[in-house]
Symmetry: C2
Subunit: 203 residues, 2 copies
């Protein structure tokens, strides 16, 4: 037993928080949200992943249960790699280990950057950041719309705020023509103005 390709339908859970770690995934196609739960209702989305990204690597630290959950945002194909195979590869292929270590280091930096933002940036800034991040991760289609339809609830969960707050800020942004929406997809018209909401917040 080594690798196998699995298809996850849109909305399906790939793995759950607290579930025993069985291995890691490489995404072939599709997109995924990775998140942590808080109470019943609230979640914090840690990261969006797309083709080429690794998933479930958080299972490698100490404990043997996933500290996070992952759900497919659209139909997603992933290659599953068992722990045994992964461990064997790490042992025989030091340069792979080295690369993976660098990957972790980068992820850590990003996580800490975001930690600071969650702590000190105001909500509008965090939502603006979330939009730019989505654009960055998923890219845009031929009409400059963000390629994946992410719900406002998910944007809220990513920015660490509520659905309504996102909604109200979106209304403001649309009025100012900084973004445009069409159904569930979003277009950023003016990234520069969006970034103004982020800035270093000096009074």
């Amino acid at each position: 037993m080594k690798k196998e390709t699995i298809l996850f339908k849109k909305g399906r859970n790939i793995f759950n928080e607290g579930e025993k770690v069985k291995g890691i995934f490489f995404l072939y196609t599709g997109s995924v949200k990775v998140y942590k739960q808080w109470g019943d209702q609230k979640q914090l989305i840690l990261r969006f992943a797309k083709e080429g990204d690794i998933l479930g690597h958080r299972g490698l630290g100490g404990v043997d249960v996933y500290p996070i959950a992952a759900t497919a945002l659209e139909d997603t194909k992933a290659c599953f790699i068992t722990n045994d195979f992964l461990e064997a590869t790490l042992k025989t292929n030091p340069s792979f280990t080295y690369k993976l270590m660098h990957f972790y280091a980068t992820e850590l930096q990003k996580a800490e950057q975001r930690m600071r933002n969650l702590a000190h940036m105001e909500v509008k800034g965090r939502i603006a950041e979330a939009l730019l991040e989505l654009c960055d991760v998923f890219g845009t289609d031929e009409h400059k719309y963000i390629s994946v339809a992410v719900s406002r609830q998910d944007i809220a969960s990513y920015a660490g705020t509520t659905y309504e707050t996102v909604f109200k800020f979106f209304t403001e942004l649309i009025q100012k023509k900084i973004i445009t929406t069409s159904g569930k997809t979003i277009k950023i018209n003016n990234a520069a103005k969006l970034k103004q909401y982020i800035s270093g917040h000096e009074k």
Copy 2:
């Protein structure tokens, strides 16, 4: 040039955010805060480190400047390891690389845990968490006081809140005899009650 031991006086910066990465540090003695700046006045403390901990390892991800700063909380001795030496060790010693990778994976988990807390936990919970974390990292002296005197400002920066808010909550905790203070040091009398402020927050 390989390793050298350096002494940092209390309050001294070990390295600054944006500074070019020169290597990493292992702490022999003392304690350190690792933080990110926000604007002029605000900072978010990411982590407290003590003897035996690694410092500056965030410099390994992609960019070659430290994404964070570190300051000694008390007189601290550290062993400095240059990048060259570190890289050489990583290349010749795969099991070290493997361990370092695991270390990163664990740090990443902790960071994401804390991210969720910053996003969804209310302030009192975050302060309570900060106290328990301090206790966990630094341990207590013979009178059960936390071994290192950390300023309330630093606790605020760790919990992502303001000095005054920490102060007021401390007053409440002291009244309820959940903690005791003596000068700048703190004793936790009732960890269980402190944890109540953290809980899963279901209404």
